[in-house]
């Protein structure tokens, strides 16, 4: 009976520890989000979104330049990364299947996914910033696109694999060519999954700072020229948070709240679509 009692006690200790671990994990989320709402919430106003960048020491101004910069940099990354990623995922799933080559590419893509983002930043600096002699918004997009690629390849590959083979056979039986089958039948069956992958990939790169530090750099003025240094929410946040000006620090927290809730919203949307579509 004693051994039984001891087992029960050990069991209860472990269960209590596990429950506390889960509560502990959620407490961090609450602490961090609470900090953001507390610090950023009071600054948030229309001015923050549409105001021009503040001069040092000024008490007015907003993040228009950073929001537009962020939007341009991420959009171009999507334009570069998404088609290449989807095509590569298509190749793996529809042409490569389980061939040796396809499996090697899958492994390489997984490794690429785990390359530290700052290392990708240094790489893009070497190929796009150093040769041109100055930082550019578009080089930030390239760095982010490289980070998106493996995520999109993986999800596209998985999603296309889930499309039943009978659909393809039916289309072939009607005399369609392979590319026609893929573009008008297979993609249709997998489109929600692919879109989910893209949304999650954007959420992932949207909050990246490290690869932008020395590719798109920063710019305290509004610019639409992607061949010039360009502000992003994340790098602006970094510079403003470390600045001596109180108003800049406030704007940094406002940027933090905008970015975090944007990224979390994208995440939840991506998950909701995936759940709605794939869970019965």
């Amino acid at each position: 009976m004693d051994a039984f009692k001891r087992r029960k006690i050990v069991n209860n200790i472990v269960l209590i520890f596990s429950t506390f671990a889960a509560i502990f994990g959620i407490l961090w989320l609450i602490w961090i989000l609470g900090t953001l709402i507390y610090k950023g919430g009071s600054t948030l106003s229309w001015e923050v979104f549409v105001g021009n960048p503040p001069a040092p020491g000024d008490n007015t101004g907003g993040l228009k330049h950073a929001i537009i910069g962020q939007f341009l940099i991420v959009s171009i990354a999507v334009v570069i990364g998404v088609p290449i990623g989807i095509l590569a995922g298509t190749f793996l799933s529809e042409y490569g299947k389980n061939s040796r080559l396809a499996n090697i590419v899958r492994d390489i893509s997984d490794i690429l996914m785990s390359v530290p983002s700052i290392v990708i930043g240094t790489f893009v600096y070497a190929i796009l910033v150093e040769p041109f002699g100055h930082f550019m918004g578009i080089s930030g997009s390239v760095a982010l696109a490289i980070m998106m690629l493996p995520i999109i390849v993986r999800t596209t590959d998985d999603m296309l694999n889930m499309v039943p083979g009978e659909l393809r056979e039916a289309a072939y039986a009607l005399g369609a060519t392979k590319s026609k089958v893929i573009t008008s039948v297979v993609y249709k069956g997998a489109i929600t999954g692919i879109i989910t992958g893209v949304i999650l990939a954007v959420a992932r790169i949207g909050g990246e700072t490290a690869p932008l530090l020395f590719t798109s750099f920063n710019n305290n003025f509004l610019t639409y020229n992607v061949f010039q240094p360009m502000a992003s929410l994340t790098v602006t946040m970094y510079d403003y948070a470390m600045s001596p000006y109180q108003y800049w620090q406030k704007l940094a927290w406002a940027a933090a709240i905008i970015l975090t809730f944007g990224v979390l919203a994208l995440n939840l949307i991506g998950r909701a679509i995936a759940k709605w579509k794939f869970k019965k």
């Binding site: 900090t35 590569a88 690429l112 390359v115 700052i118 990708i120 240094t122 070497a126």
Partner: protein, 312 residues
């Protein structure tokens, strides 16, 4: 049959485009390695790789560059963060798979995963302005008064600082990788066939008995693989540690003191490097980090997770 040739041409073009896209992925990875090596070449020639890794002097004004402080900071902060976060992550995974009522499983799981979605710069800012003061006022004094008094290892845990340093950075990293490790552990636990667990329960085992003797042994490889991948993530993490590491290019006497890491050095100094050898030395640090994370991923993925996939 008119237009059929055109149709086949379109087919070819599509296949070639798909293949070229695949090629871009492969080329990207190799291009990163080759480019970093090429850019690091002047530093490699001047200092030699081994000497660079061994040398503790990082002195840009004198054009002296040694990677040891940054490499040391990267390795030590990674190890501390793993040691601190793995038990909690496994606890969370046990809670999610074995304890939580079905209704709570999904919301709690999502809440934990959202922790992983928060941008790393947010961890950095929160770490510097809110977490570091807590470490300074409540955690450091305790560590200093307890572990700091121990013989031999005492100096490692002693001293007072403004709250930023190797230890604070490791704590922030631990929180960052917590959801990642927990998610992989949970997925590995979920792969255990229910019938194995049920038969153990039928023999009168408690939940912990089942975890210890059935689930953990079965899920072992997946959990270890997940821990190693988290380790790779902690190693390459930049913004979360840049704010709280202190950026001192020295090997600290105590883990409570400011230090640096490869990513922190790159983030702080890359855009400012004014001489060729300075920039080249930073590229060499990036190359070392690339190789380190490559090795870690290879071990985690191919030694442990591949076996899990095969075993499925």
């Amino acid at each position: 049959m008119k237009g059929k040739g055109k149709l086949y041409l379109g087919d070819r073009v599509f296949q070639i485009l798909a293949f070229l896209s695949t090629l871009i992925i492969v080329v990207s990875l190799f291009a990163i390695g080759i480019t970093l090596y090429k850019e690091a070449a002047p530093a490699i020639h001047k200092f030699g790789i081994i000497n660079f890794i061994k040398s503790p002097n990082w002195n840009p004004p004198m054009d002296e560059f040694g990677g040891l402080p940054a490499i040391y900071g990267t390795i030590v902060s990674t190890i501390i963060s793993i040691v601190l976060s793995v038990p909690v992550a496994i606890g969370i995974a046990i809670f999610l798979t074995e304890i939580a009522p079905n209704r709570l499983k999904s919301p709690i799981g999502i809440a934990i995963e959202l922790l992983a979605a928060i941008p790393s710069i947010i961890y950095g800012m929160w770490g510097l302005f809110y977490f570091a003061p807590v470490v300074r006022d409540y955690i450091q004094p305790v560590i200093h008064a307890t572990l700091g008094k121990l013989p031999i290892v005492g100096p490692w845990f002693s001293g007072f600082t403004p709250g930023i340093g190797l230890f604070t950075a490791s704590l922030v990293l631990a929180v960052m990788i917590l959801p990642f490790t927990a998610a992989i552990a949970r997925d590995s636990f979920n792969m255990v066939p229910p019938i194995l667990k049920e038969s153990a329960y039928a023999l009168g085992a408690t939940k912990w008995d089942v975890m210890k003797d059935v689930v953990l042994p079965y899920a072992k490889l997946g959990v270890i693989g997940g821990i190693i991948l988290s380790l790779g993530r902690a190693m390459g993490e930049t913004m979360a540690v840049t704010f709280v590491m202190g950026n001192q290019p020295v090997i600290p006497q105590s883990i409570l003191q400011p230090a640096t890491s490869i990513t922190v050095t790159l983030a702080n100094e890359f855009a400012e490097a004014d001489t060729k050898i300075y920039l080249s030395s930073l590229f060499l640090l990036a190359l070392i980090l690339f190789v380190m994370s490559f090795i870690v991923i290879a071990i985690g993925k191919f030694l442990f997770l591949k076996k899990v996939e095969r075993g499925k």
